[in-house]
Symmetry: C2
């Protein structure tokens, strides 16, 4: 009675993803790239588990508790904003000081004409920093490598990859990012900031260590996937806001790219969080203006000035901009294609062990240092322009447009001002008005170097953002086009650089509104909005013709089962029961402890249907669904009986709803934590109090497309499929996220045309 | 067998709303305000009707058709942008010229000291324009009165109020808005622009007249509620973009305030539409710069300059801003409260007939003219400041800061520069930097007058936006506070005016991100972003403590059954079957024509469950749901048989899926269009080909809260409730939008505490 091996559905809880991905993606010839860390993933559950305990708890909620919840919600939003803002300040401060010191050292040696010594100093500084970053990543928290945006995106879609939001990941992300950026890699701090924001939000929601349980009692309201999702959305928005100093852009990024579910109330809370970030950053900049921040200059928090005094434009200008957009789209999709290939290659190296990861980082570091230091030597020296009076030429400090490099006094090397600067300063130089001219060859060399360095750098074992490499490549490409077109267009070459950056961003990341607003907030100029919009629309359209956005691509490659917002066309040809796969294991309303334990031990299912049978009902009927985690807590409580009887009130006295609150990732009760005696194995336990009596169900003949929409829109983890005709067992199977994956469905029905 | 009067559910199609609202809102002591037009409303259906015809059509779709669809989708977005942009230009051009001419006339008479003649001219110009606007509204399209945003919001939530998007409404909205604004009423053109955009989108989606059927064949893909909803979302965004010249703000407005459902793909399309609007407006302004637009000056498309050179602020400034926000929130909610009261009073007058509507408009017009012309007389004359050299004082033209009015030469009247200008110019004057001082008394008088004129004007029978009155009142309030605080704060009084406007907007409309972006786009200054955010957050929070946002309030008062995004707490205590109300009428799979006709005639239900019975199945089982509109088309086709047999293939040959496409509002087949003979009444028709075999169902024991979430998230019109236990009829009832309305539920269960 308690175990049915019918036409059931399997309900995978924690799936060995590498295995699964390899099996499932045979048809599409893909392999999953997996570090040691991303081996188990868990689906999240946004459904409210309406069991009796929950209902009791809900009924007993009073005004004070509701106030506590609302107060805490906003306090957490405030804290997330504060935390992310402070980390952003710290990050900028550290990077500017470390990288600034390194560049000053190199510069001084150059001025003494000790070229080789300067190179050794520069390269070894870079390598030490690189080793530090990669060691942190490889040995402590492999989940911190890469951008982190794909993982956050997957989390907000309902996929929790192991330790992606753990405290160790946060730690490594912060310091790894600082070392990585300071090491001169072609990486940004923007993606890592988003991940950092999400980690901070997750940690705050958990309430830190268990020791301080008392202090954090209020946090029990947030120990569920729904509220945690909201917090992490706020965190992601705060990350973007901190990275780009773009509060509105942060909200829109969370909305457009990160979040899979959205509601109006969240918009407001996210906006509050990013406002807090903006205030923190502003205060920090005010503080640093007094010179207390060492080498942290104006350049720390990027904010670019673009000359748009030329507010009008005519047809040739528009044609130039359209050309820029089309080419940008092509380059952007090429970027995505190459990143994909490189990531697949690196994954083979990474699987050999952490030491190989570090070796790879060292190799790339050497390559980057050689390019940055070596390439400027091929550039011609240019005499300083005579009209420069206020601005120093050549530049003496660590940043500036007129780097002396190997040139004689009174001359400067324009390529060095791009390579031997922080990335933020390089972007600022590229965006600077057209009065400062870059040679065509300089821009070409820089563009080629950055384009390919950016591609080979992403995927090595350091926290690495994609925004800055893409902006750099795009800006140099745009300035290149602007310089070539020269007299044909009235637009400033600095504006061309900005539009080039927009076209590359559109071509790789495929965002529209959020990128537009981020660029506006970065450059503080609304007058060029129509041009930026135009370029973004064109480059996204062109690039969409070739492949998917870079983050979607990485999510897919990591084997994370991401649920798309819409159903695929071929799903209309199938019905829900077509994708149900057995065996289905169900429990009686009052079930034998031994059976439960057996099922928990020998399956990895996470949800089990509960079926009421005589004498508890007239005929077998579906009572609801119990979750693995709830069963573990219930068994731990040992409210067993010798007879098969209802013990509802006993259990309701013993447990409160928050005993079943979801623990942080990997912190919940395990099967091995239970010690059930032989005698207890034969006893019974009443499952009714913990059974969710309102699971979402579909009839087996429901079109798969509509079932998918239901599953996705409501953010479910389990969906019960019930029979259409009477006289059969009350449940046909359970559908989970994996059953809706195109690879899975097309694997089951290989004859289906995937685009029809 | 075909008609069950059991524990069924009624499924209201077109409900006489006044009746219903009055009945249902007894408990909450509300009455429905209804013009002659909003007497019938219809729910929209975003579910894909997966019947056999649809499936056949879907399978036969080829690449060309998919391309057609995508091409048309973007073409329509382009056309919506173009149309709305052009209407926006026309609107501005007409208003500026009409109002400008009127003001010039008045001004010239004033200069000749003919004060009484000037007043008569001014007041009679206003009255003529007012009568024109109100006559259009009262006699041609009553649905065009008011802002239109609440109706668009309700439409996007799934409620189609009669003729709200009809061509006549569009016509009246455009011209009524021009006359109304030119008549000097305290109304804006922004709300009407949103409605206009939505109407244009709706019309384009319908493909205009039926005569041109051939030309518009491709449009059949858009003849359903889902695609129409997307178009209208684009239209609403385009309207905001055209009104405020704020493309990003338009997208965000559509997202935050207008739309109830959102997807990422829509973000992009909306963004494209608003980009087109921005380009159109820009070209128009370029064109007008050459002076070809008559009196259309710089002022036409609002774009304000605020002096934010004072970029730093300290603690007293922040305290001042917080005070501003708190007071703004209180005033904002007071505004909403008073608007509500006034609307309820007006509704009584309006019910007496169109002539009373016109009379009311004339009264308000006289009041407005008297205030605008009379109040400046109480203001003191101020000598022109000596430092003014370039700027003329007193102003000679029609707009400017230094109106002479009744003052001697060399003096000016500061109140006249606010009252006797277009509203856009008045806002510009209030936002102008602090070097131009307004008297405290001037600001106080203006604030009080505008606050109350704004309240009494909204609701009269002219198209009237709420943005401009609220911005005007807020700006004068902000400038007042700024002037009072004076030396205590470093901030410019012009900036105070902007923040005051933000606080009022936040307090009445309760939007956050979109208002913030709109204000930024209006003023082209990102540096004061943190202050604007702060003010908006505070005023919204404060005002939310008192009442709902003004648009939500109006939606509710109009009796539109708006579905909130979240379930109410008390819904957890009920289950789905608690709110189904009988009788349920269902059909057999092959049903007698007479029965169908009888049911269509004597009920207003829109969806009927179809139940397969022996011999077509082993036991009674739910086959699906047929829609009234589909039944009418099927009956019109007369594919009847004498025997009770399946005639699937016959019907499939006779009909194509697009024969069942949804017609425009009020244009579908009516029952009276059918001519069924007595003989045919006894024949049978096979309903299977048009039965949606995948309706969304819930079990009767599903918690009402979760059923509500399902209904809302998926945008359903009907939800089938099925029995939990076997052996009963296969369907318990059907839930529709009205069954989820709090008033309905609390009417059924008066003992339930609504907030618990």
């Amino acid at each position: 009675m308690f175990e049915r091996f019918g036409s059931g559905a399997s309900d995978h809880d924690m799936i060995k993803e590498p295995l699964l991905s390899k099996n499932r993606t045979n048809t599409t010839s893909q392999i999953a790239i997996v570090g040691a860390n991303v081996c188990t993933i868990e689906s999240l559950d946004y459904e409210i588990v309406e069991n009796e305990l929950f209902k009791q708890d809900w009924r007993s909620r009073n005004r004070v508790q509701i106030f506590q919840y609302i107060f805490l919600k906003w306090t957490l939003a405030l804290l997330i904003g504060l935390g992310t803002g402070l980390v952003g300040c710290f990050n900028n401060l550290a990077v500017e000081n470390i990288a600034g010191f390194k560049l000053l050292l190199t510069n001084n040696l150059m001025l003494e004409n000790k070229y080789f010594k300067a190179f050794v100093t520069y390269a070894s500084c870079n390598m030490v920093l690189a080793i530090a970053a990669s060691a942190l990543c490889a040995y402590i928290a492999p989940a911190a490598a890469g951008s982190g945006i794909p993982e956050v995106k997957a989390y907000l879609n309902g996929v929790d990859a192991y330790s992606i939001l753990a405290p160790s990941t946060l730690f490594v992300k912060i310091f790894g990012s600082i070392f990585g950026v300071a090491a001169g890699f072609v990486v940004g701090k923007e993606g890592p900031m988003v991940h950092t924001g999400a980690c901070i939000a997750s940690m705050l929601g958990q309430g830190g260590s268990r020791k301080y349980r008392l202090t954090w009692r209020w946090l029990r309201y947030f120990k569920n996937d729904r509220d945690r999702r909201d917090l992490i959305t706020c965190g992601a928005a705060a990350g973007v806001a901190a990275a780009f100093r773009a509060p509105v852009g942060g909200v829109l990024f969370a909305l457009e790219e990160a979040a899979s579910w959205w509601r109006s109330a969240l918009l407001w809370r996210t906006f509050f969080t990013t406002a807090v970030v903006a205030v923190v950053l502003r205060s920090f900049i005010e503080f640093c203006r007094s010179g207390k921040c060492g080498l942290f200059g104006k350049g720390g928090l990027i904010m670019f000035d673009v000359n748009s005094s030329q507010a009008t434009y005519n047809t040739p200008d528009l044609l130039a901009v359209i050309l820029l957009g089309v080419l940008g789209g092509i380059f952007g999709s090429l970027y995505n294609y190459l990143v994909d290939k490189v990531l697949r290659t690196y994954s083979i190296i990474h699987e050999k062990g952490p030491i190989f990861k570090v070796m790879l980082v060292i190799t790339i570091s050497l390559l980057t240092s050689s390019c940055s230091y070596g390439l400027p030597f091929v550039s011609q020296c240019i005499p300083c322009p005579s009209y420069l009076e206020e601005e120093q030429c050549p530049t003496a400090g660590r940043s500036g447009n007129y780097k002396n490099f190997q040139c004689p006094p009174g001359h400067y090397n324009d390529l060095a001002s791009l390579f031997l600067n922080t990335k933020d300063d390089a972007i600022r130089n590229l965006f600077s008005p057209g009065t400062k001219e870059f040679h065509l060859s300089t821009l070409l060399v820089f563009f080629a170097a950055i384009f390919f360095l950016g591609i080979v750098t992403y995927g090595i074992a350091i926290p690495s953002g994609l925004f800055i490499p893409v902006i750099l490549a795009g800006a140099s490409y745009g300035r290149l086009v602007g310089t070539i077109l020269g007299s044909l267009s009235n637009l400033d070459t600095g504006l061309f650089a900005l539009l080039g950056a927009a076209s590359f961003l559109g071509g790789t990341m495929r965002m529209t509104v959020s990128l537009c607003v981020i660029l506006l907030e970065l450059t503080n100029d609304l007058l060029m909005l129509p041009l930026v919009m135009l370029v973004l629309l064109i480059s996204k359209t062109v690039a969409d013709g070739f492949n998917k956005g870079v983050y979607d691509q990485i999510v897919k490659m990591k084997g994370l089962p991401y649920l798309e917002a819409h159903a695929e066309p071929y799903m209309r040809q199938l019905v829900a029961s077509d994708v149900v796969s057995g065996p289905l294991i169900s429990f009686s309303g009052v079930e034998k402890v031994g059976n439960i334990l057996h099922s928990l031990k020998f399956t990895r299912h996470n949800g089990f249907p509960v079926i009421d049978e005589p004498p508890f009902s007239d005929a077998p009927e579906l009572c609801g669904l119990v979750l693995r985690s709830h069963l573990l807590v219930l068994l731990k409580g040992k409210k067993f009986t010798k007879q098969r009887v209802l013990t509802r009130s006993d259990i309701m006295r013993r447990f409160k709803a928050h005993d079943f609150a979801k623990a942080g990732s990997g912190k919940g009760l395990k099967l091995k934590d239970l010690d059930i005696t032989e005698e207890e194995m034969d006893m019974y336990v009443d499952l009714h109090p913990i059974t969710n009596t309102s699971p979402y169900t579909v009839v087996e003949t429901m079109s798969l497309a509509k079932a998918t929409v239901l599953f996705r829109e409501l953010g479910l983890r389990h969906m019960c499929v019930v029979p259409k005709t009477p006289g059969r067992p009350p449940i046909v199977g359970i559908l989970t996220r994996h059953d809706f994956m195109p690879e899975h469905i097309l694997g089951l029905y290989p004859h289906i045309h995937p685009h029809k």
